[in-house]
Structure formats: structure tokens, C-alpha cells
Symmetry: C2
Subunit: 334 residues, 2 copies
């Protein structure tokens, strides 16, 4: 690029930045329009104003404005089953064409018949076998393509929409609001990291390198003289419960100042985030209370159980979002 | 923040951005002043111009402009020994006050006497014991403080400067040049990730979350009712050789388009980065050829051996930097 072209491009970028800023300011009249004017919204705005007000004891410099989000049940729907489980069941069906023996063999038989209770009966061992069969034994590039193709075509049976449209509009606004205020937003999910990365940038504005999740081991090797990364059927890391603060520290290397979750799997992440440090911290739990517009569940469910974290939320100063009352919209408009 | 204050702040930021852009443009007259006008500099500039030229087949969108850098010997000095080893030897001396038995016990005796050949004789097992003794058994916060204090006071014996000043000025310019062109810069080092993160942002402009390295396992637990992350004396991940592409994929989730290294430990990272993809890739090796201003070594050294990677560099189209001829300056001016 020669200097004149560079200057021109720079000038354009500055102008574009100005337009972006201007439109942001207009939108900022209400940065969280899908949130009711209740306690959670007030807590979010108060927190952001406190940590961004310069020359006050609560001020947090931009690089330390780290916010972490659980994915399943916090950013998108996790009922009637985790979306990744729907992916697994679909993959087993596709792969079964080359595995006729699966018709009589658990846990594949249960998966093929969509028999969730038989699947549950196969236990963690059975589920892990399904995960490894569908998630390993190929290169990272191949798996990325499989996920990308599936997520583009799969539809949720109840809402008849792509899963990437069953994300929570209020949380999309929250992500954008935090980023507009100098936060860096990360996902810290128990789900598979390579199952999320192909679409999180498009859907949440969160790039792959800001997604933390569970993973299988990968191996670097040559195949036909070409270097590849091959996915092995072996657990590398489970980013759930006590694994979440471990994963966050491993990937980010600093403690977040805000954490958003919805289940007991997020308990330790919330504890780690909201303890320590002299500046304000925000911990928030999305409580699924809206059976009409989404789902209502907490202490008794196989997907996203919220029990212990709900018990200690008040004592820890965590904000509990009552979806039914605190969210005007659930999903983005079609 | 009220809207007026917000608008004012935004206006200020836009103005500040404009000033930044203007000064960047001026500096861009020569973005790499410490590089001689030889082949490596030309290769860098040509590569950056190709991947940033819109509406051409070589154009790479900003999010995919990922560049990875080895640290030891690529961004800062690694002779006469890795800086992290100097840290270990210093730590052993400090800790020895509470371990009188170390005076007679290897590998500690060798460490206390600075006897590098006896240390080498203790092998990988001995070195690992020293690493675990000095790097584990405390919280991540405590270790961060130990590193921060050490790096602020330790001095390199030959150059009599802090180690963080023994970084390569041409590479600092390269990092800034890439970032000014929309690249995101990462470190992928065999060194300990928690040994680098406390200072990489200040020294290289690379934030902790963009540092990939070797690590020990950490455990989340409560101590006196406070959640902590405790460092265990157990290897979690070795980010070297074939581990580098694995670590890069695990942390970043996409393949870099540029990689910079200096030793055989970077071979697989260079292979992974420069193979695959339809757009240009840049692989570069810093060859230490300047015994007067820094050090001269390649095939025969214990620290940063460059042998196999040098053999295959030409065939792979990697650019080899001859420090003596290609770099006008080695370190930042005092």
C-alpha cells in the first residue's frame, strides 16, 4: 500500500469510526431495549457506569474489563436438550449408514431411536462414546466443516428456527453494550469449543479465540505430506464447574470482573469472578421462568440444573434474572 | 455515564483516534526503521501489502490476520540461558534459606552453585524438579507477584539491563506494523505462560489472553472460605515442537497466516502456518549471527537449537533473518 492510498484509507476509517460512534450514541439512549426496567437491568447499567467512570476508586482500565458468558441456557436455548446433543443424534443417524451394527448396539440404538431415557440409562460412559464417535477421528478442518454445515440447516423442532436464531435478544444487547464500554467478551462453556467456534463471531460477535470450552485432544501429524491436526477420541479438558475458573485462567490469564451463567455448572465461575479484587464485580444468573415463551426449569432438569447456585445467589450478591418478568423479548425478531 | 458525558467522551475518543491515525501515518513512512533494506524487510512489507489489498484474491479479512511469535530467541534474548532458567536459579537461591538440605542435594546443589553442566547432567528429570519446586505450590496470584517482582529487578549479567529491555527492537517494530495493519499478534512459546503474561502487554503490546505457552495444572478450591486457583506440581501442557500447532489451535481456533520463530521448537508451528489456505503465508526464522551485538549460534547450542528448521527453510519458502546484516539495531535504545 503506498502512502497516499494509506492516508486515504485511514481517513475513510476515521470517518467510518465517527459514524459508528454517532450511531452508537443514538442507540445508547437505551442500550438494553429488550430488558424490562427492573432490578437486573439497573444492576447492569450501574455496574458498567461504576467501572468506566475515570478517576474514581471503582474505575477499571479497559484491558481488565473482562466478561465471561456461559453459552447453553445463558446465550442460547438448552431445552429440550443441549443443541450439541441434537447435533450428536443427527450425526449418529448420518454415520449409521456405514454402521448397520448400531441398530442393535447401545448407546447407538438409543441415539438412532431418539430414546432419551435409554440414552440417559447408558450413563456418562454411553454419552462419552457418542461424543467421541461423532467428534473425533477427523481433522479439525473437517470437523469445522461438519459443524458449519449442520448449524446452517438444522432446525429446532418447537420454534422451527435455526438454533443460531434461538439466542437471547437481551443477552445480545448486553454483549454489545459491554463491548461498547470497552469490555472484552468471552464464552466459557461446558460445551465443545470446536462446536461453538465456527459460528460465535457471526452470532454473538465473539471471535474463536475468545471462546473457551471443553475439548478433545488433538495430534499434529503429516498425512500425504500435508501437516494436519487430527482429533483424537480422548478428553483433553472439561470446562464445567470447577473447570471453568481453571479454563478461564488458562486462556485469559486474568480474573474477569463480570460473569453470566444459568446453572450449577457456572457456580465456581461466578464465585471466582465475584471474589477478590477491590473494584466492583457483577455476577448474574439467568433463571428460566417462562414456559410460554421459552422454558421453565431449575432444580429438576437434566439440562442446565440450577439448584445450589440459586441457593447461594443472594448471599453472594449475584443478580438473578427472572426471564418472564425481566425480559421483554426472548429471541431476535425474525 | 449520562448521555452528554458519553457523547463528550466519544467525541474525545474519535479525536484521539484521529491523532493516533495521523501519527501512525507519519511513522508509516518507514514502519520498520531498524530493519536493513534487505530481503526479509521486503518480504514482510510485500506480504502485508498483499493480504491487506482489498478486492484481490490474496486479501485476508482482518479477523483472519493472525500472527504468532515464538518468544525466547525470537522476541527476546535466550543466551547464555533461557531467562526463565535465570529466574529458576534465582528462586532456588531465595527458597534455599528454608531448605538447608539443598546444599547437598541435586539438582538443587547445581542450581545454587550455578553449575550449568551439573544441571545438564541432572537431565530433564532434574530440570522438571526445579521447575515444579519454583513454579508450583502457590496460587496463580502469588506466582504472578513473584514473577512481576523478579522481572522488575533482575539484570542480565552481560548487558546489565533488565531482561524486558533485551527484546529485539526490529521485532517490536514488526509487531506494531502488523497490528497497524489489522493483525492480531499472539505469542506461542515453549516457556511458561504464567512467566510471560505479567509483562507481555507492557513490553510487546500483547495482552495475557494472547499468550500461549507451557503450563502446570491448576486446581480450583477454597482456602479459608476464599476461592483460589492453586498451581500443582504437574505438567499440564508443553507448548513446544508439535505442541505449538496444537496449542495454537486450542487457544486461537484458527490457523495463523504468519509465524515467526528461531529454533527447531518452531518447526511444526511454521509448517502448520505456511501450509494450507489459498492466501499468502509468511514464515520467518530469526538466525542468530551476531556475536558482537548479541550472540551467534544455531546447530550446536543447548538453548534455541536451529538445525532441522534451517535445513528446510528454503524449500518451504521461509525467510531467514540474518541478524548481523538484516537488523540495524538489536535492542531498544536506553
Amino acid at each position: 500500500m503506498n502512502t497516499v492510498a494509506f492516508v486515504t484509507r485511514r481517513a475513510f476509517l476515521v470517518f467510518a469510526a465517527f459514524l459508528t460512534c454517532a450511531s452508537t450514541v443514538m442507540a445508547q439512549a437505551d442500550p438494553l431495549p429488550s430488558w424490562s426496567d427492573t432490578a437486573p437491568k439497573k444492576a447492569i447499567v450501574a455496574f458498567v457506569e461504576r467501572v468506566t467512570r475515570e478517576n474514581t476508586p471503582d474505575f477499571v482500565p479497559e484491558p481488565d474489563r473482562i466478561a465471561v458468558f456461559d453459552n447453553d441456557g445463558t446465550l442460547w436455548v438448552e431445552h429440550p436438550m443441549y443443541t450439541q446433543l441434537a447435533f450428536i443424534l443427527d450425526r449418529v443417524k448420518v454415520m449409521a449408514k456405514e454402521h448397520p451394527e448400531w441398530n442393535e448396539q447401545q448407546p447407538f440404538k438409543a441415539a438412532l431411536e431418539g430414546d432419551l431415557s435409554a440414552l440417559a440409562a447408558s450413563g456418562e460412559k454411553g454419552l462419552l462414546e457418542l461424543v467421541m464417535t461423532t467428534h473425533a477421528g477427523m481433522t479439525v478442518d473437517d470437523f469445522q466443516k461438519i459443524v458449519t454445515d449442520w448449524i446452517a440447516t438444522a432446525r429446532d423442532p418447537r420454534f422451527k428456527r435455526p438454533y443460531t436464531e434461538l439466542v437471547y435478544q437481551p443477552m445480545l444487547e448486553l454483549l454489545a453494550y459491554l463491548r461498547a464500554n470497552g469490555f472484552k467478551t468471552f464464552i466459557a462453556s461446558g460445551g465443545g469449543v470446536e462446536f461453538m467456534r465456527p459460528w460465535t463471531e457471526r452470532v454473538y460477535g465473539i471471535p474463536p479465540e475468545q471462546v473457551i470450552g471443553s475439548s478433545v485432544k488433538t495430534e499434529f501429524k503429516e498425512r500425504d505430506g500435508v501437516p494436519i491436526l487430527f482429533r483424537l477420541p480422548e478428553v483433553n479438558f472439561i470446562d464445567d464447574k470447577a473447570g471453568k475458573p481453571v479454563g478461564i485462567n488458562q486462556f485469559i490469564g486474568r480474573r474477569p470482573i463480570a460473569a453470566f451463567g444459568n446453572s450449577d455448572g457456572d457456580l465456581e465461575m461466578l464465585e471466582w469472578t465475584t471474589s477478590g479484587g477491590s473494584t466492583p464485580r457483577l455476577g448474574m444468573i439467568v433463571h428460566h421462568t417462562d414456559a410460554d415463551r421459552e422454558y421453565a426449569y431449575d432444580r429438576k432438569t437434566d439440562f442446565g440444573r440450577l439448584d445450589q447456585a440459586l441457593d447461594v445467589a443472594t448471599d453472594n450478591g449475584w443478580v438473578v434474572v427472572d426471564m418472564k418478568n425481566d425480559w421483554k423479548e426472548i429471541f431476535p425478531k425474525r
